[in-house]
Amino acid sequence: MRRTLAIGLAALLAAETLGAQGAPEIRARLIARGAPKSLADQVQKVVSAARRERLPTDPLADKALEGWAKRASPDRVLVAVRELHTRLGQARIAAAQAGLKPPPGGVVTAAAQALGRGMTAEDVRHLIQAAHGSRNAAAGLMVASSLAAQGFAHGVAAQAVEQTYQNGGTTSDVLELPSVTASLLARGLSRPDVGERILEGRPFRLDDSEVGSENGAVNRRALGRAADVPPGARGRSTSNPSTGRRTGP
């Protein structure tokens, strides 16, 4: 009996050691960047608690590193990390209620982000159910919260994603929505107009009357569907990176 207990104990210790080797240590990373040990310890506690609750921990680590990079006070960093921890927990519950059991980390992260941008748990559940699959759900939540951040009403943002999926759109189409809407807004269209276009399933085309004639050709190429533009004119890779001109001081 004593021998069996000793073997079991050794096995557990070995397993825990193996498990700990794969876990990123936010404490060490914060200290390496000059953060006080007290902050690093507190953040590590939050991350460890999240790990026990089966929540994704990368967003928590990122938030702590972000706060420290911006030289926010340790108290403020800790508050931000704890708030995110709470949102991740709420997001996990909402995702589980929508039928994802267990919810993938990417969906939980995207749902927490959506909740942080003012979307409700009901919005989150609805989007997940409409997305049919965790990959679509993560992309849909991400895009809906980005559209909300652009100033679109939450209902419109959620509906835009759902509509795109219902119209046979792919995850790639959904992921393109934020940059398309940003372009339309930059071209001078109002949010209601852009929202209407998305809900009608025609967000990617502009009529000549809607854009300045001098930029019409450029806009058409930028905003046309992937199938409408010549190969190499857009898309990923070095041949066509994003070249949105950023202006500043």
Binding site: T57, A138, T243, R246, G248
Partner: protein
Amino acid sequence: MSSRNEWSHETQAYFDGERAAAEPPPRERPGADRLLRGVTAYAASIHAPGAELDDRIMARVRERGRARAHPSMWRWLVAPQSVRVRPVVLALAASLVFLVWWRDRTAELPSAPQLAATPTVLVRFELLAPRASSVTLAGSFNEWGTEGMPLTPSATPGLWAVTVPLPVGEHEYLFLVDGAKWMADPSAQAQVDDGFGRTNSVIVVGPRGVVRS
């Protein structure tokens, strides 16, 4: 005080209780009687041990037995042992190791979903900052590191630029100007509260890239 050797044999026999057999010599008799009376009085003053002594002794014995239990286990643990293990027990232990390891692996949920078959897209960032002496890009894609992604001056005066590979998905970022001033991207797709009193710029990268604005 007299030493024992000063008593005669008869007196010593008297002390031993052999009074009938021996009588001390007259000169020793008073001293011997005095000594015997003193010894008898002293013996009478001593409390005879009762049954509680046995109880106390046994309690101490049991206590010592308990105290030695741990050292005994420790000795067993540190001493070389010949361990015989049933293969089924070994298999169960190995299964336990795997299960705990697997549980920890799955508990560490990846936060970035795999959204595309080709997960990385090259994205160009630009900032017009004529008076800046250095500009770097920091964001959720590089753990907000402030040194790894410097922008370089482009052909257009005052324009800084860098092209970086980004995973498909949403990213928050800022520019760090002259190593001290955080600046949002004025032409970003969106700006969001960062939780630290500033705003972060947002970019959503699709598998087909980012639409020009």
